[in-house]
């Protein structure tokens, strides 16, 4: 167990269970089988594990996109798993940013409008929304794709645009499902830099990743196997005993 010293964790999940029931009598899949997770304010938590381990399901539960079969979720000490969809929608507009594995762009809006829209919906002025949009487009190397339609983007561009959309309201709590999943190594670095900056502002991040670089940037790595947490490791800045030499030793 890792200790969460903060009085009230930003996010606290207890006993989460979720079973997917396939349509027309298909087999049940017990995707999440009893997960307890506390996330402190300002934590950067990476969830890793093999494909099918239940990572996406867990993230969807935590972000309120699906309801658990059992267990509770508390946000700032307030129980939220029982909230109505309309209340979740408010939370998502104000406090929570989400990046789906498949991206979450509105297909008939341009990239720029996609990014700007959540800011306008949250009540920011048109000018503020546009400024924030421009900043994110530049940070993510998408400036020249601003007027493109989502369908015209490459997988990596779509993923970055989805991240920009999730970050435009500067959410306290960001959920992201494999945000560097289909990115080449240069774009992955840009995304990671942006996430790190967001975290450095004191924001909380919970993301699912397979990317060693992203996991290594988190300060906590949770391993999920078969719907259960099998490890919860704090990664701190103590250099490993043998240093990083054995990785870099090229022989010769």
């Amino acid at each position: 167990m890792t200790d969460q010293d903060t009085a009230v964790p930003v996010l606290r999940a207890t006993g989460l269970v979720k079973t997917h029931r396939a349509a027309r009598g298909g087999a049940e899949v017990r995707a999440v089988r009893g997960v307890d997770l506390g996330v402190g304010r300002g934590d950067f938590v990476a969830v890793t594990g093999p494909s099918g381990a239940g990572k996406s399901t867990l993230l969807h539960l935590l972000a309120g996109l699906r309801r658990p079969d059992a267990g509770e979720i508390h946000l700032d000490g307030r129980r939220v798993d029982t909230l109505r969809e309309a209340d979740w929608a408010v939370l998502r507009r104000r406090r929570i940013g989400i990046v789906f594995q498949t991206g979450n762009l509105v297909s008939d809006l341009t990239v720029a409008d996609n990014i700007e829209l959540p800011a306008l919906l949250a009540g920011h002025s048109a000018r503020a929304a546009r400024e924030r949009r421009e900043e994110l487009l530049t940070d993510l190397g998408l400036a020249d794709r601003a007027d493109a339609a989502p369908a015209a983007l490459s997988g990596g561009e779509r993923q970055r645009a989805a991240l920009a959309r999730a970050l435009v309201n500067d959410p306290d709590l960001l959920f992201a499902d494999e945000p560097t999943g289909s990115l080449d190594s240069r774009s992955a670095r840009e995304v990671l830099a942006l996430l790190t900056r967001h975290h450095a502002k004191g924001r909380t991040i919970v993301l699912v990743t397979h990317d060693a670089r992203v996991a290594g940037s988190a300060d906590r790595v949770v391993s999920l196997f078969d719907g259960l947490i099998t490890d919860d490791a704090r990664v701190d800045d103590t250099p490993p005993a043998r240093g990083i030499r054995d990785v870099l030793d090229l022989g010769g």
Binding site: D211, T230, V235, P240, D249, G252
Partner: protein, 167 residues
């Protein structure tokens, strides 16, 4: 470090300290720092093997310095080194031995071993991330770090497979 030193001398003659500096400048902080003693020892061996030739050069008010030049045999050795494919990365076989044998010993369980190993890799990964930030602008360093990152990625993925199969 034998062949990298020889390769540097294929460009131009140099003395030990210059070679140490050239290594550091070329590879940046990502490469394990050369130890000057080790450089001198290696140069001594290369000379004995006839791959380089040393010549003492007098310096004003300082002890002589020994400048080394590559020989024809040395040049052939570098050419041969460059022409051969290099040994691929090895599987972390020591960890695998531990993992397979642990249950027999009843001294540790596999999940604990896997978790400890993962934590170690993540720690190393964090070090590499930090180094990548510090070495920004050094292209050679960045590539070296990227190579190390990809190895670690493979190690982590493989650890996941071990956990799936063996726990």
């Amino acid at each position: 470090m034998r062949l990298p030193l020889l390769a540097l001398l294929a460009k131009e003659p140099a003395h030990g300290y210059e070679l140490k500096q050239a290594l550091e400048q070329t590879f940046g902080a990502a490469y394990p720092r050369a130890n000057i003693g080790q450089v001198y020892v290696t140069l001594g061996r290369l000379e004995k093997a006839g791959l380089i030739e040393g010549r003492d050069v007098a310096q004003d008010g300082k002890p002589d310095k020994r400048v080394y030049a590559i020989t024809d045999t040395g040049r052939q050795e570098v050419a041969k080194w460059l022409s051969e494919p290099s040994e691929g990365p090895r599987v972390r076989d020591e960890f695998f031995l531990k993992l397979v044998l642990a249950p027999e010993t009843q001294l540790a369980d596999r999940l604990t071993l896997i978790n400890n190993q993962r934590r170690h890799y993540l720690n190393v990964m964090r070090g590499l991330n930090r180094m990548a930030a510090e070495e920004r602008g050094n292209q050679v360093s960045q590539l070296l770090i990227e190579g190390a990152v990809l190895h670690l990625q493979a190690d982590l993925d493989w650890l996941e497979r071990c956990q799936e199969e063996l726990t």
